[in-house]
Each structure stands twice: as C-alpha cells, then as structure tokens.
Symmetry: C2
Subunit: 345 residues, 2 copies
C-alpha cells in the first residue's frame, strides 16, 4: 500500500467532483485548467473559473511538490530529514452575488524522508508525515440558518470520527483566520481547521499533539487521517452548494455590492498579511498565479469605512468580531430541512 498514492488519488478525485458540482450550480462558466510543472520537482493543476452566473472568480487547485530539505527549511520550518513531499487541494470561490458567501477549503499531506530517492525510484524511509486541512465560510450578509447548516455539516463529519474534533477544530479555525491588526476581526464565520495531525486518536496517548516527541510513522495513522480528509473534503459539496442554491437568485443593490467589495478588502488583508500558506508560497518561489488566485476579483479600500450601527452589514461585522457557537441553538427541524436540501442537490 502506498499512502502517497492513496492521498494523491483522493485529491484528484476531490478536485474533479468539486469542479463538477460548482459548474452545475453555476450553470454557465466551466473550469479552465492550467497544468504547470515546478523546476525543483512536481507540479500542479490550477483550475480557474471566471465570469459565471454565480462565480465572479474562483479556483480549485491541486499540486504535488517535492524536493530536498534545504537549510532554510530546517531553520525556519524546524523540519528534519533529507527530502520532503507535499500534496494538497486548495480552493477559493468568490461569487458575484453578495448574498452568496465566499468559501475556502484546503486539504494537504506532508511527508519527510531521511534519504534522497535513489535513481531507481526507491525512496528513503519515511521519518514524519502529517495532515492538515479545513474549510471556512466568508459571508457578506449573515443568514444564521446558513451558518448553522455549514457548521452542522462539518460537525457531523467530525463526530463520525471523534466527538472532540468539531469543538477543537472549530476553535482552531476561529483563531487562525483572524485579521489581528483589526482588533482580531475574523475573516468570516469560520468552519473547521486542523494541522499537524500525525496519529489517530486511538493509536497513542500522544494522539494529535503537534510537536510531540518523535512518533513512529504508521500507515494506519495515515489512513485514519485520509479517511477524515475524505469525509470533510467531499463534505464541502454538502456544506456549500445548498447555500449557493438558496442565495444565488437573491436580488441585490449597488450598496450590497459595495459592502461585498469592502469586505473583500479584509480577505486580501488576511491572505497577504497573515496567511502562512500564502506567505510561505510567495517567499519560496511558489507558483505566484496559483497562490494569488485566492484574491477576490474586484476589491475596495475606503478610509475608515464603518457600517451603520444595527444594519445588516453591522451584524455581519459583529459576527466576525465575536465568533459564535452556531450549533448550540440548532433545532431538529432545521437540521432535517437542511439534510433534505443537501440530498436533493
């Protein structure tokens, strides 16, 4: 069994399924694929959508990259070993309609080996391997039922593995996508986010701890986290598409669009100032266009823009400043309604 192959197949299948679902809900635009190779090793498939009925700009990218562990990586990333390998999917969608939320998701696997691959394709022993990922929603207007549906979908995915996951990963998400320079305003209303997952919770008392002492690398642990990524990754379709269906025909005004463009400015601020993945890519000769594909199509920066107290715009901003526990209030009726909707999409 080859863990990398299982992961890679999943990532490419996820890319295909998500692109199909997005094209279907858009009804007009289709993805254009830009395949690229990286001189240092590996490459990717950048798939871009633009000027659709629903999506103004978006991308669903996969990449497989690898290389030698450099001194800079050893120092800055505190990485050991001789070679590294990484593969993941990353998507960002910026809809036209301000009532349809922007969404981001990312699932990735990282592996380190202690000796360089030999000429015959044989690779060195795996000395470390971890998984990360998550999905977060960035609405411009707050519909509580959408927020609850989105979070409930990921809670269900998490609960199928470990009931401790959703509260933990929800909190990690709330604490990651933060514009710290704006009084800790969140980019959106969160979702789940996890990183450095090495072992299955049942596999070791150290389970899931980042930076724990060296742990023997077991394929069984990898399979656990691959299954989890599958549940969450395919879950994206259930989490996001029904919200798009529900909001895509909502009438909007110039003022709604203006607010969307202002909020997109916050998205740019987070991605360029704080996002580890973006900054790592920009500073390590990553493929710029694939990295910056996440930036919104049209953005507005105004001096000291403040929404009117109590307005719908203000309510969204408040939800970003004060992350909420969306699922404490959910009713069974709401849950059933959303399940029905998800199944018919």
């Amino acid at each position: 069994m080859d863990v990398k192959e299982i992961w890679t197949n999943f990532i490419h299948d996820l890319q295909n399924k998500i692109c199909s679902a997005l094209e279907e809900v858009d009804g007009k635009a289709t993805f254009f694929e830009d395949a690229w190779e990286r001189p240092e090793g590996g490459g990717g498939k950048t798939r871009v959508i633009a000027n659709g009925n629903v999506f103004e700009k978006g991308g669903v990218n996969t990449s497989i990259v690898f290389g030698d562990v450099t001194d800079a990586m050893r120092t800055q990333l505190k990485i050991e070993g001789d070679t590294w390998w990484a593969c993941g999917l990353s998507l960002v969608l910026h809809p036209i309609n301000p009532f349809v939320p922007t969404v981001h998701c990312n699932y990735r696997m990282f592996e380190l080996c202690d000796s360089s691959p030999s000429g015959g394709g044989r690779e060195g022993a795996v000395i470390d391997r971890w998984f990360g990922g998550g999905t977060d929603l960035t609405p411009y207007y707050l519909f509580e039922e959408d927020a609850k549906h989105f979070h409930q979908t990921y809670k269900n995915a998490c609960d199928a593995f470990d009931v401790s996951f959703y509260p933990k990963f929800k909190k990690e998400c709330d604490n990651y996508f933060v514009n710290w320079h704006r009084n800790a305003e969140r980019r959106g209303i969160g979702g789940i986010f996890y990183d450095y997952q090495r072992v299955a919770p049942s596999s070791s008392p150290e389970g899931g701890k980042a930076n724990a002492q060296p742990i023997p690398v077991k394929d069984a642990d990898a399979l656990y986290w691959i299954e989890f990524a599958k549940k969450c990754g395919y879950g994206f379709i259930d989490a996001y598409i029904p919200i798009v269906e529900k909001r895509k025909h909502t009438t909007y005004t110039v003022e709604n669009k203006h607010w969307q463009e202002i909020r997109r400015g916050r998205y740019v601020e987070f991605n360029l100032v704080h996002d580890r993945g973006t900054l790592f890519g920009l500073k390590t000769n990553g493929r710029i266009e694939s990295i910056l594909m996440s930036l919104p199509p049209v953005v507005r920066f105004e001096y000291n823009y403040q929404p009117a107290f109590g307005s719908e715009e203000y309510k969204l901003q408040e939800a970003c400043l004060n992350p909420r526990d969306w699922l404490n209030e959910i009713s069974d009726a709401e849950r059933e309604e959303w399940a029905k909707r998800s199944n018919t999409c």
Copy 2:
C-alpha cells in the same frame, strides 16, 4: 535649538503646503482631517481626500509618536536606549485617470534617548538619531518625459547637497519598492529612497553608513539632514504637480481603467507583503486606518493577467521589471521646458 521642534515644524508646514497644492490641482475635493491620539504616546493628523476631479483616494498624514523602548523593539529592531521618538509625513495619492501616476512620499526622523523623560518635561540624553525618506512614482502608462522630469527634480535636489546622493538613493529606491514574488517587478519607476542617515557626509569618514559603530550625536548633522529633507519634501510639489497638470485631462477608456486596477493590485501586494513600514505598523498596534490609507480605492485581481506583447501596458510592465537610468538621455531642451512648467504651477 531643539532638533525635534525644527523637524516637527517642517513636517507640519510640508503637510499644509502639499495639501494646498493638491487641492488646487484637484479643483474640487478638499482634505478632511482626522486628528488622533495614541494611548501609548503621541498622535497624528490624518488628512484624507476622496472623489475629487483628479484624486479618487489619497492621504497626507503626519504623526508624532513616542514611548519606552520595549524588549520586543530591542530584539526585533536592534534598538538601544530607554525611550524613542519618531515624527514623519507620509502620503499616497491614487488618481482617477489612469494616465496620472500614483505617487508616494515619506520623510521621517527617529530619535533614541537613554533615560526616560522626568516629570518636569526634561528628557534624557540623545544616544542615536537618524533620518529617512523618499518619493517614488507609480505610473500606469509610461511617458518618458514624465519619468525624466520626476527623476531630474530629485537629482537636482540631491546634487545641491552631494553628487553621490542621487545615484545612490535612486538605486536604493529601485531595490526597495520591489515585488520580489513577481520576478523582482518594481512597484513603479522609482525615485529616491534613503534611510538611517545619521551624519553629514563632510562630518565623518563614516558618513551615512547604516549600523556603523556608535557615532556621537551632533545637532549639526541633524540640521544637514533636515535641510535635505526640506529640499526633497518641498520638491515633491515641483516633481509631481506638473505631471498631474499635464495628464489630468487625457481621455481614457474602460480598458485603460481596467489596467490601472490590475496594477493597483501590485501596489496592494507590495504594501501588504513587503513594505517594512506597513508591516511594522500592523504588528505594533499602529493606527490601522492611517496605515492602510495607502491602499488604492478599487483594485482588480485576475488570474494570470498579461498585457499584450508590445502594447503600452506591456511597455510599462517592462519598465517596472527593468529599472532604467532615466537621466542619461535627458536633453537640455526638455530640462528647460520642465523647469518653466514647474515655475508656473
């Protein structure tokens, strides 16, 4: 004689004069002043212009800030002493018309003292003091005569002090405003940029060297750099306003505006990813709205946008990728023409 007072008076006078000149050339919008105080010490006057005939968004800010040297400053900025004081002017102007260039300028003084101010207003001994500044131009379309005029104005200012300054500070500018992640594409066509200027060139063999061994702090050195900042600071009006006058009535198309918005994206990328001042402000509890005032009003990010080979847009991009020595080709006739124009504005 109080160096800080001389500097502060200059900075406020410069703010007034530049704002007046900009309002005059705009002909419609006036500056709105937002005065603010900083809880840790000091404050500023943020002056904002928007929706004018010429300027879509802009600001001319001054601030005086001070405080105790923190452990973080000692480690990260390699600063010594007990208290610090800084005062400067910073401006960015984003015109509506894509044929009018965006411009940025900044002049600042920094001082460190070795003991905290006592209750009676007396301050500790000055242990270090330095000056920095510069002005750079970001056109969307390249007019060589504008580039030459802009650079010639600053060369003249520099030459009045030291003929080594212009080539040195021009190069520093070309090497500072760089989107390293885009194959070292410059933000614009440069200007001058200098930092850590402590001593007058005639004053010491160590003149102008950053991080040299401790140098006795002399007011004469400060006065030299204040005079230089005055020459460059007031020179902004001669350097920029004639270009605005010349281009502000140029007819433009939707395509020209689209290109301007794409290029503004590069401006955002530089300011949020690379600019030391912006990042320092964002990470040290600076006044966010004053710092991010530099961001353009409406910005466009498109996947892998490339101007057509040989087009006017392409020529501008080439000038950003390959900084040019604008003044090697300047003719006397051009110089006279610009001098005449500057004097009549």
